[in-house]
Amino acid sequence: MNELLKQLSEAVGVSGQETDVRLMIKDLIAPHVDEWQVDPMGNLIAIKKGTGAVDLRVMVDAHMDEVGLMVTAVETNGTFKFAPVGGFDDRALLGKVVQVGSKRVPGVIGCQPIHLATTSERQKIVPRSSMRIDIGSADKDGGKGKVAVGDRAAFLTPYEELGRVALGKAFDDRAGCAILIELLRQPPYPFDLVATFTVQEEVGLRGAQAAAFRVQPDVAFILDCTPAYDLPVPPHVDESPNVHLGRGPAVYVMDRSSIQDPRLVSYLLRTAAENDLRVQVRRPGGGGTNTGSIQRTAGGSAVATVSLPGRYLHAPCSMIDLDDYDHMRRLLEAALRGLTPAVLNRES
C-alpha cells in the first residue's frame, strides 16, 4: 500500500481551501528541506539546498488543490444546492458521496428518482441545477449548523489498490504532490531545488503564477495528472487513445496552456531510455496545466510537463497505474540528477 498516496488522496483541499493539504505536506517535507515558506496566496514553497555543482535555478511544481463543489443555498427540505469548483462532467456527480465543510459532514448527491421522470427527461443529462447535496438534515437549519452556504464539498472516496492500479479521489494532483515529496526525501541534487506546492490550479492556474514569480526558475518541471481516454468506444468508432494507463508517465509536447520546451522534452525522453524507464508522449491536444502560467511568468522559464495518466480524473473516483507512478518518480529523479545548463543549450 502506498501510504503517502493514500494519505494525500484522502486529504481534502478543494481549490481555494487547501489548508489541510498544505499543513499535511508541510509536516511531510519539513525534515527533508532547508527552508519552507507559505506565500500570500497559500502556495507552499520549499528549498532543498544542493551540492552547488550545477548553476541552475530549478523548480518542480505540483498543485495541492482538487476539484469539488461549493454549497450555494439551503432548500426548505433540508438539502443543498451547489456549484462546481473546477471542471466537471455533470454525469459523474449523480449518486456519489461527498464530505462537506471543515467538519467533513457526509452527504450524498441525489436527484428526482427516475420512476418519476418523464420519458424526455430520462433521455437528457440531469442538469447540475436539479441535483442536491443531502446530508440528512430535515429543514433549513443546515443540519443544526454543521453545513453553511459557502462550504466546499469534496468527494468521499476511500483510497484502495487493486493489483497494479489504485483507485481514489484527487490523484489530480496529489499523485504529483506525492512524487514531489518523494523527490525531496532523496539526497541533495547538484543545484538548489525549489519545490512549489501550489493552490488554485483547477480554477485557472492561479497559484503557480505567483509562485513562479517568486522563484523565477531557469527550468521548471510541472508534475500533474492527465486524463487517459484509453477506453473501448461503442462499435464502429475508431479513436486511438491520447495516453494509455500502464505505459509510463506522459511527457507533454503541447496543450491548450503551452508548447513545452523541446529541449526538455528530448532530455526527458532520452533520460527515460537511458534508465530503462517507461515513458509515453501525450498526444497534443486540449487541457491545461500550471506550465502555462509558469512559462510566461516574469522573464519566462524553460518548462516541461510530466503527467501521470489517470482515468476519470475529474470525477469522484479515478484510477492510476502504480507502475506509472513509480516510473514517473524515477524519471524525474534521474532527470534532476543529470540536468546541466548544457541541456538547455543543446538543439533538440
Binding site: V97, G107, P113, I114, H115, G136, V233, V237, R311, D321
Partner: protein
C-alpha cells in the same frame, strides 16, 4: 445488533435479482433464533415460520397464517461482453432490474465470481470515454450501456481467467450514516424492509400470537415479482403483506406522489390492498400512538402484493413500507426510525389477529362503511 449495524450487514451483502444466495444465507442466520422453522425453496426464497398458539382450522392441520414478504433482491448489472482493448480488459454490462443508468458513470462496483467463489470477486469502476470519443448521436446525453464499461484496471488475459459473461455485478457503496437518524447506501430498496421484518420478528419473539407467521425474503422482485408469486401459491396465506419502500419526498420529488422521510411507516391504499387490512394497520398504529402516513396509488403494481393478491383464488393483501429517497441508486436514503416503527407496527397488527379477523375482512367488503 442495532438497526444501523443490521442494515450495514444487509445492504453490504450482495444479492442482485437471480443471485440471492449470499443475502439469503445472511438473513437466515439473523432470523434463525427468532422462528421455529426456516428453509430455502427451490427458487431461492427464504421461508421462515413462527407458529401461533391459536386453534387450527377445522378439518385442517393448519392455523390461519399471515405471510409477510420483503424482497431481498437488489438491482444490479450483469456482464454481457469481455473486451480486449489494446491488451487491457474491460466489461460491457446489461442491467438486472430497473437500474438508473444515469447514475452509473464513476460508480465503484464488484463483479461476482462464478459459483459464489469470492476469491474471484473483482472490484472495478464504471467508466466511459469522453463525448469527443463517442459517435455524434451519443453525445450530450446520459451515457448508455453501450458506452459505459466496467474497468477493473487489469490486462485482458488476466481478466478472462476471472470473469465470465453472465457474472453478476453489484454496486460498491458502504452504508453511510447521515444526520437525523438517516442513512444512505445501496440496496436499501428493499433490505430496509428485511430489517423491518426482522424487528417485527423480534417483537413477536416471546409473545403469544394466535396466527402462524410466515416471514419470507422473496427473490427476483425487481425483475418479475417471481418469489412472491410462487410462495403465495405454495404457502396458502390467509393474509399477505408486502413490505416495500415507496417514494420519499426529496429533490425533484415533492409532489403528491411522495411521502415524508422521518414521519413513520407508509400504509398503502391501492387496488392491490384490501381495505380491511389497511384499516387494521391504522388501528394498530393508533394503539401504539405511532404516526403513520397513507399513500394512495391509482394503479396496482410495483410490489410483491401485486403477485400475492392473485395467488390461488385470491388473497387479502396489504402494503407497508418506508419512504425512501433516490430510489434505484447507490445513495438510496431512509430514516432508521421509520424502519423500526414499521417492524413494531406490523408486530402489533399480528398480535391482534384472532379467530374473527378473517370473517371481519369478508364482512367489511359487504358493509356500507
Amino acid at each position: 445488533m442495532n438497526t444501523f449495524e443490521l442494515l450495514q450487514t444487509l445492504t453490504e451483502t450482495p444479492g442482485p435479482s437471480g443471485f440471492e444466495r449470499d443475502i439469503a444465507a445472511v438473513i437466515e442466520k439473523i432470523w434463525q433464533p427468532l422462528v421455529d422453522e426456516i428453509r430455502t425453496d427451490r427458487l431461492g426464497n427464504l421461508i421462515a415460520i413462527k407458529k401461533g398458539s391459536g386453534r387450527r382450522r377445522s378439518g385442517e392441520d393448519l392455523r390461519p397464517r399471515i405471510l409477510l414478504a420483503a424482497h431481498m433482491d437488489e438491482i444490479g448489472l450483469m456482464v454481457s461482453r469481455i473486451i480486449d482493448f489494446h491488451g487491457q480488459g474491460f466489461l460491457r454490462v446489461v442491467n438486472l432490474g430497473g437500474v438508473d443508468i444515469r447514475h452509473l458513470y464513476g460508480q465503484r462496483v464488484v463483479v461476482h465470481g462464478r459459483d459464489g467463489d469470492v476469491s474471484r470477486n473483482l472490484k472495478g469502476i464504471i467508466g466511459a470515454p469522453p463525448d469527443s470519443y463517442l459517435p455524434v448521436s451519443r453525445r450530450d446525453k446520459p451515457f448508455d450501456l453501450e458506452s459505459l464499461v466496467v474497468d477493473p484496471g487489469m490486462a485482458y488475459d488476466e481478466l478472462i481467467r476471472l470473469v465470465s459473461v453472465g457474472d453478476a455485478v453489484t454496486f460498491h457503496q458502504p452504508l453511510l450514516a447521515l444526520e437525523n437518524n438517516r442513512v444512505a447506501g445501496k440496496a436499501l430498496d428493499n433490505r430496509c424492509s428485511v430489517a423491518a421484518l426482522t424487528v417485527c420478528l423480534e417483537v413477536l419473539k416471546d409473545r403469544t400470537h394466535a396466527w402462524d407467521v410466515v416471514a419470507i425474503a422473496t427473490c427476483q422482485e425487481e425483475t418479475r415479482l417471481l418469489g412472491a408469486a410462487t410462495t403465495a401459491f405454495e404457502l396458502r396465506p390467509d393474509i399477505a403483506i408486502a413490505l416495500d419502500v415507496t417514494f420519499g419526498n426529496g429533490p425533484g420529488a415533492s409532489d403528491e406522489r411522495t411521502l415524508k422521510l422521518d414521519e413513520g411507516p407508509v400504509i398503502s391504499f391501492s387496488p392491490d390492498t384490501h381495505p380491511g387490512i389497511c384499516q387494521g394497520l391504522k388501528a394498530a398504529a393508533e394503539r401504539l400512538e405511532m404516526s403513520v402516513q397513507s399513500e394512495f396509488v391509482n394503479t396496482p403494481g410495483g410490489t410483491d402484493a401485486y403477485a400475492m393478491q392473485v395467488a390461488r383464488d385470491g388473497v387479502p393483501t396489504g402494503i407497508i413500507g418506508v419512504a425512501l429517497r433516490y430510489m434505484h441508486t447507490m445513495v438510496e436514503s431512509i430514516n432508521l426510525k421509520d424502519v423500526e416503527r414499521t417492524g413494531r407496527l406490523l408486530g402489533e397488527y399480528i398480535l391482534h389477529l384472532d379467530g374473527q379477523t378473517l370473517s371481519g375482512l369478508a364482512e367489511g367488503l359487504m358493509s356500507e362503511k
